[in-house]
């Protein structure tokens, strides 16, 4: 919920920033100057922050072709396996992204106008992907619990 609210706030700020930038360019001949780079940064942060919620709600897009083929125990096994894949995927990506984040920090990558450290957003991504992995595990446990309850 904290992550999701942050994502929502970032989206709203992105909208306002773009509007102010364009109107500033035309009305005052003075765009913000940092809208381009901050759009990139905010967008990455926004999507990262929304990922745990999407995962927890099991909203990732599926082809869902043969859903009806899986019933009963088979269905539980399949759902658990898929939740496992999702959790593993997010966790693995978090781990690999942490190396990139670390590199951004040590090399000192910054945005060009505001000199905002890019590594911070990459580390935020690591945290969000970690949270999404946890959400995947919660999903998996939910599937198993449902099965045992029946």
């Amino acid at each position: 919920m904290v992550f999701l609210s942050a994502a929502a706030l970032l989206l709203f700020l992105m909208m306002v920033m773009t509007f102010v930038d364009v109107t500033g360019r035309y009305l005052l001949n003075q765009p913000l100057g940092f809208a381009f780079e901050m759009t990139q940064i905010m967008m990455a942060a926004m999507v990262f922050c929304a990922l745990p919620s999407v995962t927890l709600r099991d909203e990732h897009v599926t082809a869902g072709l043969f859903d009806t083929l899986f019933r009963g125990r088979l269905r539980v096994a399949r759902d658990a396996l898929i939740a496992g894949v999702v959790a593993f995927g997010c966790g693995f990506l978090a781990w690999r992204l942490s190396f990139l984040a670390e590199r951004f920090m040590t090399f000192g990558d910054r945005t060009s106008a505001l000199r905002f450290p890019v590594g911070i957003v990459a580390w935020l991504g690591v945290a969000c992907l970690g949270a999404a992995a946890v959400a995947g595990v919660v999903l998996l446990l939910g599937v198993v619990r449902e099965r045992n309850a029946r």
């Binding site: 001949n29 765009p31 100057g33 190396f99 090399f107 990558d109 945005t111 060009s112 000199r115 890019v118």
Partner: protein, 320 residues
């Protein structure tokens, strides 16, 4: 036989590939007597700013990239990007490699890779749109919106009184033709490669050079270390200083061709006068001081390096 994967992110037919990288690849094959071959990928494996990272992580073995695409990451080669350091790609590139060997190598900025080459574009020019007042005096510059790419140009433009418009490279034509930007700062070579015929009315050259951008060629460290020493030596013999000269000359040739195309298109070619230059020098002096400071933080005598850079460039450009 070792086959190295070079990440190919430039648009098909781009001068950097055909004029610089492909000839260099051939020289590598020749120098190693065919033991090392470099193969470009079908399509890019990563975004333009990721080229260095691709090599560090071994996603590609060899990559070519622009230092300015990752602001804050590299400082020292920026000496070749500064205003009033040089005009030609040959002068800037060959001088940069010498200064790199003399002053920068010890600072070890290029971690996790084997640095094969550094080189610079020819100077950027002030290109203005077809329906825009050309820039003859500094007052003409003030308040104009210029599309700028990555790197030091983002600081040069506002210092001269312009407004930065940042858009992706594939939209340069559109924003110029539609007047979202009044002009752009680019070397001549960009005119044919961005297909700017019809949207550029005039181009103002600043004698001494306005700014440049620097490129790197790097190789995955483990891959390089795994090569037999004679192959490493052979590769280095056609890289470094040799690559700087190759790249410089190829780019200058492209500049000459592009300039001819612009003239044929009727683009007005303006050379900034004394008054413009002295005003620009004053406004841009801070960039030089900033670079010297930043170099100092890395333990490099920036003032001395800059001095050597200027002398080396003058030696090449003066001899023309």
């Amino acid at each position: 036989e070792t086959v190295l994967r070079l990440n190919n992110w430039l648009p098909p037919g781009h001068r950097q590939m055909t004029g610089v990288i492909e000839p260099w690849m051939e020289q590598v094959a020749e120098a190693t007597e065919g033991r090392v071959r470099i193969m470009p990928t079908d399509a890019s494996l990563g975004a333009p700013p990721r080229q260095y990272d691709l090599a560090v992580d071994g996603i590609a073995d060899v990559t070519v990239g622009v230092l300015g695409y990752t602001p804050g990451r590299f400082t020292l080669a920026g000496v070749a990007e500064l205003p009033f350091v040089g005009e030609t790609a040959t002068g800037l590139s060959t001088a940069l490699w010498k200064v790199h060997e003399e002053f920068f190598q010890e600072a070890d900025e290029y971690k996790g890779v084997q640095l094969l080459g550094l080189y610079a574009n020819a100077t950027g020019h002030i290109m203005t749109g077809a329906n825009v007042t050309p820039v003859r005096q500094i007052a003409d510059y003030g308040g104009k919106k210029f599309r700028v790419g990555g790197g030091i140009v983002q600081e040069v433009n506002p210092a001269l009184g312009g407004v930065n418009v940042a858009v992706p490279a594939n939209e340069v034509y559109e924003i110029l033709s539609q007047g979202i930007a009044d002009g752009t700062l680019l070397p001549y070579e960009a005119y044919p490669s961005f297909n700017l015929t019809g949207v550029i009315g005039a181009s103002t050259t600043v004698p001494g050079g306005l700014y440049s951008s620097t490129w790197f060629v790097v190789m995955n460290k483990a891959r390089f270390d795994a090569l037999p020493p004679e192959d490493q030596q052979a590769i280095m013999s056609v890289s470094g200083a040799a690559l700087a000269r190759l790249a410089g000359e190829a780019q200058d040739a492209a500049e000459t061709e592009a300039r001819a195309i612009m003239e044929a298109d009727g683009v007005e070619m303006i050379v900034a006068d004394e008054a413009f230059v002295s005003e620009a020098r004053e406004r841009l002096a801070a960039l030089e001081a900033q670079w010297v400071d930043a170099a100092g933080r890395l333990g490099v005598d920036g003032a001395a390096a800059l001095e050597m850079m200027r002398q080396e460039v003058a030696a090449v450009e003066g001899a023309r």
